[in-house]
């Protein structure tokens, strides 16, 4: 059995992150405000070649690009 999200190139990790995000957003006001901070992620990385740092990239954006490349259709 292949999942639809897998066919679209998403990883299991991304699937869980999306499911967790929607669960947090469905909470009542008070617990939601406390929980939503957990969903925030701002990571950057840069690839080093020949001792020089490449362009710094956002991990979320780079991942989104990788999912699109991996999509089977």
């Amino acid at each position: 059995m292949t999942y639809a999200w897998k066919a679209a190139g998403l990883t299991y990790n991304r699937y869980l992150a999306v499911a967790a995000r929607v669960v947090r957003r469905s909470l009542k006001e008070e617990p939601r405000l406390a929980a939503e901070r957990r969903g925030q992620m701002d990571l950057r990385f840069a690839k080093w070649t020949n001792g020089k740092m490449g362009e710094p990239q956002n991990v979320a954006d780079a991942n989104a690009k990788a999912y699109a490349e991996k999509a089977s259709s």
Binding site: A4, W5, A7, A8, G9, L10, R14, Y15, L16, A17, V18, A19, A20, V22, V23, R24, R25, S26, L27, K28, E29, P31, R32, A35, R38, A64, Y67, A68, A71, S73
Partner: protein, 165 residues
């Protein structure tokens, strides 16, 4: 003299009479009928190896109930409800956003999930608003990934809607 002998006889007779019920120790008494449940999230442990009677899970392979002495297995969880029947008989329901349940030998059950809340903490208005939004994205003309994510959201919201009134 005579009364002393009677007292000594009684003293000897008593321990034998007390020993009788202790001699039989059946299998049923030796094995606990409780499960040690650990329900943990990255930021919180809801149950920490607590004794519970039964746990009902929504696994990818189907709904399952776990009692003591369950066969060891690993199950991927669907975004769905986990029902915990505690020792006192009260049932608690949690909605988990997906994860894994590991049934270990000797009645140990570990559930790991990314996000989980008691069912009372959800708001039906927030769910309804999000369903409308996700449906719009799922049937719109966004990228394949956006549509796939909207469909994941719909799957979660629709199973949530059943439990939150």
């Amino acid at each position: 003299m005579n009364s002393l002998r009677v007292a000594r006889a009684a003293l000897r007779a008593r321990p034998a009479a007390f020993r009788v019920p202790v001699q039989r120790r059946g299998y049923a008494e030796a094995v606990s009928d409780k499960i040690k449940l650990s329900l943990s999230l990255p930021h919180q442990a809801i149950y920490k190896s607590s004794d519970v009677v039964q746990v009902n899970l929504a696994a990818e392979s189907g709904e399952m109930g776990v009692l003591a002495q369950h066969v060891p297995s690993i199950e991927q969880l669907k975004p769905g409800i986990v029902e915990v029947i505690e020792e006192s008989g009260t049932t608690k329901q949690f909605f988990l956003a997906g994860g894994f349940a590991v049934v270990q030998p000797n009645s140990v059950l570990s559930i790991n999930a990314v996000e989980g809340y008691p069912i009372e903490d959800f708001s039906s208005e927030a769910i309804k608003a999000q369903i409308a939004e996700a449906q719009k994205v799922a049937s719109g003309n966004g990228s394949e990934q956006d549509i796939a994510e909207a469909k994941i959201e719909l799957e979660v919201l629709e199973s949530l809607q059943v439990y939150v009134k």
